[in-house]
């Protein structure tokens, strides 16, 4: 009796409806949709920046320094006569690139390490987790700064430095997910039917932990964006003249009393972008939360 009713429950609730339901729920979440819209618009603006402004991000004009917003320079110019709007658009490229490419490194390291720890268990797991504990004892941003100094100045090395520090969260998450799923029946069933170790991991376990990983990555993006901005603000982020919101904030800082908007525009852009990713992450988490499934 119970067997048949179980079977019925499973067949009326096929696995993919989790994603279908999630998308429906996500689309109902106004904040998440607003965040997504801002991210999309900003990404398009960053990609098509040359179509939106005819100024280059490094194009100086010493006759037009420190101008207030006008028709010619919608957001004014900086101390070297560079157009703030253009720098903001090209700076978005930097922020988005850091936010997104860092996650590839994070996933590239975090997923396999977490999966190995969770699946292998025992000694391997123990050593990996000890190492992760040590990583946690390190203040993130300090380690990034040290790595930054070691790895040198290119922007790819910046991705690497941030990624090398941020993967531990994902590894922990995946390990936890796998430990939880490992005890569930369908994995045992697959193993009983003679599935081979790593095959089982990839075929059954990873797809199941995909939801939490996506959520975690979405929350990691603004963190990476913030890190880049903070480093550039201090002066150890991207190299000049690469435009970066953090560097623009630093440039504007000395002129806070005379030209406060030089500081204001990049600060607000940064806040909005981070807020958007947080809204999206919250929305995804709520949409994918199995506890909400009834």
């Amino acid at each position: 009796m119970t067997v048949t009713s179980e079977a019925k429950v499973i067949s009326t609730r096929p696995h993919h409806t989790l994603w279908g339901d999630a998308i429906v729920r996500l689309r109902r979440n106004k904040f998440a949709m607003a965040g997504l819209a801002f991210i999309v618009v900003l990404s398009l603006a960053a990609i098509f920046a040359p179509l939106l402004t005819h100024y280059g991000f490094a194009q100086q004009n010493l006759y037009e320094i420190l101008q207030s917003p006008s028709w010619k320079h919608p957001l004014g110019t900086d101390q070297l006569g560079r157009d703030t709007f253009a720098r903001l658009l090209y700076g978005a490229r930097t922020s988005l690139a850091v936010g997104i490419f860092t996650q590839f490194i994070v996933l590239f390291i975090g997923l396999p390490v977490g999966a190995i720890a969770g699946y292998a268990g025992g000694k391997v797991d123990n050593y990996i987790m000890r190492f992760v504990d040590v990583m946690y004892a390190f203040p993130d941003i300090l380690l990034i700064i040290l790595l930054r100094s070691v790895l040198g100045g290119s922007i790819f090395m910046l991705f690497l430095a941030i990624g090398l520090v941020a993967w531990v969260n994902i590894a922990r998450l995946v390990r936890g997910q796998i430990l939880g799923l490992k005890s569930r029946d369908f994995v045992n069933a697959a193993r009983a039917m003679g599935g081979e170790g790593s095959y089982i991991t990839w075929r059954h376990l990873l797809p199941n932990s995909l939801g939490p990983v996506i959520v975690s990555v979405t929350f990691n993006v603004p963190r990476a964006i913030f890190t880049e901005a903070a480093l550039s603000y201090i002066g150890i982020g991207v190299k000049v003249p690469t435009p970066s919101w953090g560097a623009m904030i630093q440039d504007g800082f000395n002129l806070i009393f005379s030209k406060p908007y030089m500081l204001l525009f990049p600060a607000i852009a940064l806040a909005l972008l981070m807020l958007s990713f947080t809204f999206l992450g919250d929305g995804l988490r709520d949409a994918l939360d199995p506890k909400q499934r009834r």
Binding site: S149, A230, I256, A267, L270, A271, M274, L275
Partner: protein, 305 residues
């Protein structure tokens, strides 16, 4: 309990050793050395300096010397600060960083916990929506962006507060608010979630079935349980405040540990960098230990042995 603490302290020492090792390796991988100046120093001078600071010895020996120094409570001499002892430099910044961190922590809890509790008790009310918005916004806006906005409003537009510096209480206001924003958001969010969770528990229903006054149900049965997760994140929060403050210290020109540390990085001041990293790692580890002990004190189910 005692054995737990001893074990944790041993683990802490091991972690600090590994942290020192990693930092040491990374520092020496950094191209350039502490004597790189605009105008290159004469090789003779560099040699003499290296000899004086022991930088001519093999790396493993340098590391050994350093660890031995740390054991004796000596973090070495700064290269950039006219031979001053690293400990004395850090101690000079410490009270400022600690003052900011602790004030921000208290402010964050004073805002976050009541807000989270009020939101949970009146779910879906105006307070609740406000608390959710508050936690989302301040969890995602970086402290230094908030600092800039505050500066523009209160210093530039209103001329109420000084933009930077250290010494007067007014100079504390903005840095403390910027630091407190994130932990306040986290505390509000966690308090709300855990209070909602606890309110659903069977034992709260049991308490009500005894006919207790509503206040007693809330204080003894709901809050005592719902604040446990808040305590567990207090350690990481405080650690973040103390270690993460260097950007805020830079922004508001507060001469705290963080600012010294950043200066050390620019000057490639090995011993100052090492001292800073060690200080931060030590702070994080100690705070986590304290929280674990506090955790056992509030939750009788937790027993360490």
């Amino acid at each position: 309990m005692f054995r737990f603490i001893v074990r944790r302290i041993l683990w802490l020492l091991l972690v600090l050793l590994v942290v020192m090792f990693i930092t040491f390796i990374l520092m020496h991988l950094v191209p350039g050395g502490p004597w790189d100046r605009e105008k290159a120093l004469a090789p003779k001078v560099v040699e003499a300096l290296n000899k004086r600071y022991g930088l001519d010895q093999p790396l493993w020996q340098q590391f050994g010397n350093y660890v031995w120094g740390v054991i004796r409570g000596d973090l070495g001499t700064s290269y950039s600060w006219a031979d001053r002892n690293v400990i004395s430099i850090l101690l000079q910044g410490l009270p400022k960083t600690m003052t900011l961190g602790i004030l921000a922590f208290l402010l964050a809890q004073a805002i976050g916990i009541p807000l989270g509790v009020a939101a949970a008790l009146k779910q879906n009310s105006g307070v609740d929506y406000f608390s959710v918005l508050f936690s989302t916004v301040f969890a995602s806006i970086p402290g230094f962006v908030l600092g800039i906005l505050l500066m523009i409003v209160f210093s530039v537009m209103l001329h109420w507060l000084p933009t930077s510096g250290w010494g007067s209480p007014q100079q504390l206001i903005m840095p403390v608010i910027c630091l407190a924003a994130l932990p306040a958001a986290q505390s509000a969010r966690i308090t709300r979630a855990s209070t909602l969770e606890v309110m659903r528990q069977d034992y709260v229903r049991t308490a009500r079935s005894k006919g207790l006054l509503e206040n007693r149900v809330r204080i003894r049965h709901i809050f005592r349980n719902s604040l446990i997760p808040v305590v567990t994140i207090a350690g990481p929060e405080l650690a973040n405040l103390i270690t993460g403050s260097f950007i805020i210290e830079n922004l508001f020109a507060v001469p705290g540990v963080g600012r010294l540390f950043v200066q050390g990085i620019f000057a490639r001041d090995y011993s100052l960098i090492m001292g800073g990293v060690l200080f931060y790692a030590f702070t994080i580890a100690i705070l986590n230990l304290v929280v674990d002990i506090a955790y056992a004190a509030i939750d009788p189910r937790i027993r360490y042995d």
